[in-house]
Amino acid sequence: MIHAYQLVVLIPYAAALILVAVPGYRVGATANVIVSAATFAAGLWLVAGESIVGDYAIVDEFNIVFIAINTLVGFTTALFSASYIGHEIETGRLSPSFVRFYHAMFQAMMGSMNLALIANNIGVMWVGLELATLITVVMVGLYRTPQAIEAAWKYFILASVGISLAFFGTILIYLAGQPALGEGMPAMTWSLLQAAAARMDPAILDLAFIFLLIGYGTKVGLAPLHAWLPDAHAEGPTPISAVLSGLLLNVALYALLRFKMLVAGQPAALDPGPVMVVMGLVSLIFAAFMLYQRRDIKRLFAYSSIEHMGLIVFAFGMGGPLANFAGLLHMAMHSLTKSGIFFAVGHIAQAKGTQRIAEIRGLSVTHPRLAVVFALAVLAICGMPPFGVFASEFLILTTTFAREPWLALLPAFGLLVGFGALLMRLQGTIFGEPVGPAHRVEASSVPMVLHLLLVLAAGIFLPPLLVAWFQRAAELLG
């Protein structure tokens, strides 16, 4: 009997094979949506079911949330790109054959990310994550403009180096686990490693965590390993930007956190907290300043993703039940909000025919509804109530101040600087006298509204089940 956790991986991979063969982009798009819906259904099935610990697969309180988000955002993104890609073909940026390829790649990517999420084996997780990365590399280069190729190439190099380092880290984890769990599979299995964490070799564990931090941190987009991120977001198709910010960063961070759990399980090992705090703060503040000089709207929000990843890593670096809880909550909220923002940005780019911020003005006059949604989404990511990000930032800042009053000033400073920049851009784009063209928007606005509603709901009421999961994961994270 086939189980849901197999479905979330198998459906996309199978679909990828089929979609390569499907001619006609409309059919492909529809199929893409249907398949993603099916995957989402499987994901929900997992949520409904109880946790699983198999040889290769694990579904526990920690990753179930991310599986759910992954499949959901995969579905909404498919929905969005179905209406979006058509416009890309009309404008001639993509040929139908490329769209076919795009759909196949999209499913393959989703499959790989789900694989990385449910894998109970650090090797398999590594494979899934790297597969997803390489596929996104190809997607980023999809438009084959010089900029796109340049971005893809940079992404490729940095990601490959990251891949190698992460792999070395994985080997080290194996070596660290070997004394406790013996040779072979057990020393690469999450559940067993987690259980045996206390008996693992601390020194190798430290070494391993460093390599994993650099390796997976590159995909998380931590400064100074972030260089690929802004360009990849800016040059790739908008749905891919949404998936990158919304999912891939999360999955990479998820992997990193799994390893942090191991380190937390071994008291003799060095505490990764300070390192994470520092890297988080560097990313947060650096990205906040970078926001001011951005001219391309997608690159702007790419940097804001770096900013928020920095905040999340900072929270986990602080540790403790409240901060970890806040970090997890912020991960979830950020991926929903940011992908929603990228959907909105896609609409804007269609409406104004450009991504250059300077040429986007007065949206509230020309496209009132879009402007409202966009404004709400941006304010949400800035941590304004009544959206979920406010709750997580509330927890992060209050607990930090309660424990380290002076340290708390730094993330606050970064967030304020970033807020100033985003607000400036927001006002510039939606207010003022409109300039330039104002086309009708083809893409469907359902996904972004849906995301916004979810974030709103989370800001007002968090389901107890979710809270329970987060709390359990938070205490594992130490």
Binding site: I149, E150, S164, F168
Partner: protein
């Protein structure tokens, strides 16, 4: 056993030496030869551990290392270099002397790190881990002290050699073969890219204007 360990240790040592050779070489052709030598040594090392710990599947890894990285890619790159006309001296960021010094420092760092590892793990495994770590770091160094694409690809590949060495060194580690296959695919992509997109200086251009054009993000 001890003699088995002697040989694998020797081979690993040779690989480290070739890494230094890579850093030392001035001309692209020579770099490629040095790399080929390293890959062949790797193949030998892997084959040896395959035989000594009788894990026949590792022979595949050895074979890939030998054919792809020992022969195919070096040859291919030789021809690319010839076609791109960059077989003359490569532009270096720092002098050979400095590069070697840094390399030595990195090797020392690798040793220091591994020496902290508890005696819980077999001493030869630790030794090999130290060497592999050193090779990886040297490969990374190679990537950042050379300016043209080919040598950087080479640097990456020697990094990856170190990885394979570490993976085979980790006794009984599953999936090594699969991973080595995956890596060779990755590398082929690299080389493919260098071929197709004619990436000469994209790797490291000093022409910021060009980058602006590329990035479409005016300063």
């Amino acid at each position: 056993m001890s003699q088995a360990y002697e040989i694998s240790h020797l081979l690993a040592g040779v690989m480290l030496v070739t890494s230094f050779a890579l850093l030392y070489q001035e001309r692209v052709a020579a770099v490629l030869n040095a790399f080929a030598a390293q890959s062949i040594t790797l193949a030998l090392a892997v084959a040896w551990s395959a035989w000594s710990d009788n894990r026949p599947d590792l022979f595949i890894t050895a074979l890939i290392a030998l054919t792809l990285k020992g022969i195919v890619i070096p040859v291919a790159l030789h021809r690319t270099v010839a076609r791109l006309g960059i077989h003359r001296e490569v532009e270096k960021v720092v002098g050979v002397g400095v590069a070697l010094m840094v390399g030595l420092a990195l090797t020392g760092l690798a040793q220091a790190l591994v020496l902290k590892v508890a005696a819980g793990m077999a001493s030869h495994a630790r030794e090999e881990l130290a060497l592999a770590l050193a090779i990886i770091l040297l490969g990374f160094l190679m990537m950042i002290v050379r300016r043209n694409a080919v040598t950087q690809v080479v640097g990456f590949m020697s990094m990856e050699n170190g990885l394979i060495l570490a993976a085979t060194g980790a006794r009984g580690m599953p999936l090594v073969v699969e991973v080595s296959v995956a890596f060779s695919v990755l590398i082929s992509l690299f080389v493919f890219a260098v071929f197709v997109f004619r990436i000469r200086e994209r790797f490291d251009t000093v022409d910021l204007e060009a980058l602006d054009r590329m990035r479409g993000d005016r300063r």
